[in-house]
Amino acid sequence: MSLRVTDLRVHYKTLKGDVRALDGVSFDVGDGEILGLAGESGCGKTTLGKSLIRMDGRMRHVGGKVELDGEELPIGDDRRMNPFRFHKVSLVPQYSMSAMNPTRKIGRMVGELLRSRGVALDQATLESRLDLVGLPREVLQRYPIELSGGMKQRMVMVISTLLDPSLLIADEITSALDVSTQKSVATALAGFRESGVVKSMVFITHDLSLTYQIADTIMVMYAGKLAEKAPAKTMVEAPRHPYTKLLIDSLPEVGVRHTERRLAGIAGSPPSLLDPPAGCRFRDRCPLAFDRCAQEPPPVEVEPGHVVACWKADA
């Protein structure tokens, strides 16, 4: 097992109190697995991604642990996390546009970056990685501003995986890109796994259909908790959690017209995580809610690899 997260709790400090952005999440990512992390804004998916590599100043590690290749990550300790970053865990940031120093040629910047981490630049590896994502080698002689959005995103992907990290986190890396660029970036990302550059990957996005294209397993989060986790195909074809079902039903796909099939959204909005209600957090919006939902449903493995946190998962 490459990554094992157990009962992870991360809170945000605010003026009004702690926001429980991540409230007890447990999951595993196997060797060579791409986990797609999906959910709507505020569900905790970005918090989870950040927690695995670098918490920002307002985040606090409240409980639970993260193990990578059998070793516990000191995620709450910024300094002790440093040796792991880039070497063991790496991140492709959402805004690659601003991730590169605009005053340096890319090749030089990569060399400086590696030196600052105490590693010598291996030109051959760098070039083979450029080939892998389909970038010409000349990009090293260019300034970041000369690259298109998709090229920059792929360049950042190459940089963040140069040291063959065990785990790669990609947070909404395609949401600012055009449809056609999105495809090439997502395909290049999957290529890192195929070629064994990274062992496992957490791919965070709000776009369920994009996750479906490259992830092996999809995990849907709701209000700081795991709602459902299943193999990609199962998740799309036979979801069990009412939230996942409603979410998938609200997605228009090419081929659906409102005159033929009028889709519906999910009424209501997620609860405030400042003081979340007891019991199932989807209860207020759930058409299946019944008395028992006042107690919190534990995540249960209904089939091998298919975990659902709902009392009516079998229904």
């Binding site: 709507e40 804004s41 959005g149 055009d178 449809v179 056609s180 999105q182 495809k183 997502a186 395909t187 709000h206 776009d207 369920l208 259909s209 994009l210 479906y212 294209q213 799309v236 074809e237 409603l246 979410l247 998938i248 609200s250 997605l251 228009p252 796909e253 090419v254 081929g255 659906v256 017209r257 409102h258 009028r262 889709l263 519906a264 959204g265 999910i266 909005s269």
Partner: protein, 295 residues
């Protein structure tokens, strides 16, 4: 109702305005009452510039935009008939004021003589038309409302006027999946009331869900336009095909499409001329006859 005829927008760029950038190049289409036209394009396609020109927020450099036969002239009279909703709801509401101030602005400019009770009734009707509960959304600050609620407030604002055309520029791209569809359904309802809607988007599936007719833009030019059904099921221009192939779908893996650069014909498309492939299906491709029509 709304007609665009060879509309062009050229920006001056560079330190002394020495270079020019053509953002929109000889675009022509029209929007009729009671129909949704979706304007589909990627970033840099000029789709938002077109929307802003139709709203009179930026002047066109060439061609003509007419509404009911008269050229667009920004001002109170025009905005009574034509309104817009923009991409980022949190930027469309002035963050220091309450959200319902957008209604007060309309009242002040257009209906200063309307009595309070009458106005309240109108406001409630408009909010119900966009499926919002007046008691839930009035008197709140923008940050206390969700993106979907804010966008629907803006549509309600437009409905307070006697609008005939709504320009909706990427209005769902910042919204969550579970609320975005409700906003789209509201747009579909407007159509039932006889309004014309220009729905600008980069998302093909949303355009397909909503629109009667589709205009596909690339680098400021129309590459293909026609009845939505025809454009989506029998795409003729290689760019349209490439776009459709790149859309991630559920239940089906990505298929490969020839990249647009390899198309022998696409250069010929840049003549500003559209060729009729069928009735109400135009494509900017000079060698249309050679194309396999079914793909």
């Amino acid at each position: 109702m709304l007609r665009l005829d060879n509309v062009t927008k050229v920006y001056k760029v560079g330190a002394f305005g020495g270079k020019t950038l053509t953002a929109v190049d000889r675009v022509s289409f029209d929007v009729r009452p009671g129909e949704v036209v979706s304007l589909i394009g990627e970033s840099g396609s000029g789709k938002s510039t077109l929307g802003r020109m139709i709203l009179g927020l930026v002047p066109a450099s060439g061609g003509s935009i007419t509404f009911e036969g008269t050229p667009v002239k920004p001002g109170k009279a025009y905005y009574r008939n034509v309104q817009g909703v923009f991409q980022d709801p949190f930027s469309t509401f002035n963050p220091v004021f309450k959200a319902d101030r957008v209604f007060a602005m309309i009242r002040e400019a257009y209906f200063p003589g309307v009595a309070d009770a009458d106005w309240t009734a109108r406001l409630r009707t408009a909010l119900q038309d966009v499926r919002l509960d007046p008691d839930q959304v009035l008197g709140k600050f923008p940050h206390q409302l969700s993106g979907g609620q804010l966008q629907r407030l803006l549509i309600a604002r437009a409905l307070l006027l006697d609008i005939r055309l709504l320009v909706a520029d990427e209005i769902t791209s910042m919204l969550d999946a579970s609320t975005r569809i409700d906003v789209l359904n509201v747009l579909a309802d407007l159509k039932e009331r006889g309004l014309g809607v220009l729905y600008i988007t980069h998302d093909l599936s949303l355009g397909h869900y909503l629109a009667e007719r589709t205009v596909v833009l690339r680098h400021g030019e129309v590459v293909e336009t026609g009845v939505t059904e025809a454009v989506f099921t029998r795409p003729l221009h290689p760019y349209t095909r490439q776009l459709l192939a790149a859309v991630p779908r559920m239940h089906a893996p990505w298929e490969d499409a020839e990249p647009v650069e390899t198309c022998l014909y696409h250069k010929h498309g840049a003549t500003g001329r559209l060729y009729a492939a069928a009735e109400d299906h135009l494509v900017a491709c000079a060698r249309l006859g050679d194309c396999p029509k079914e793909s």
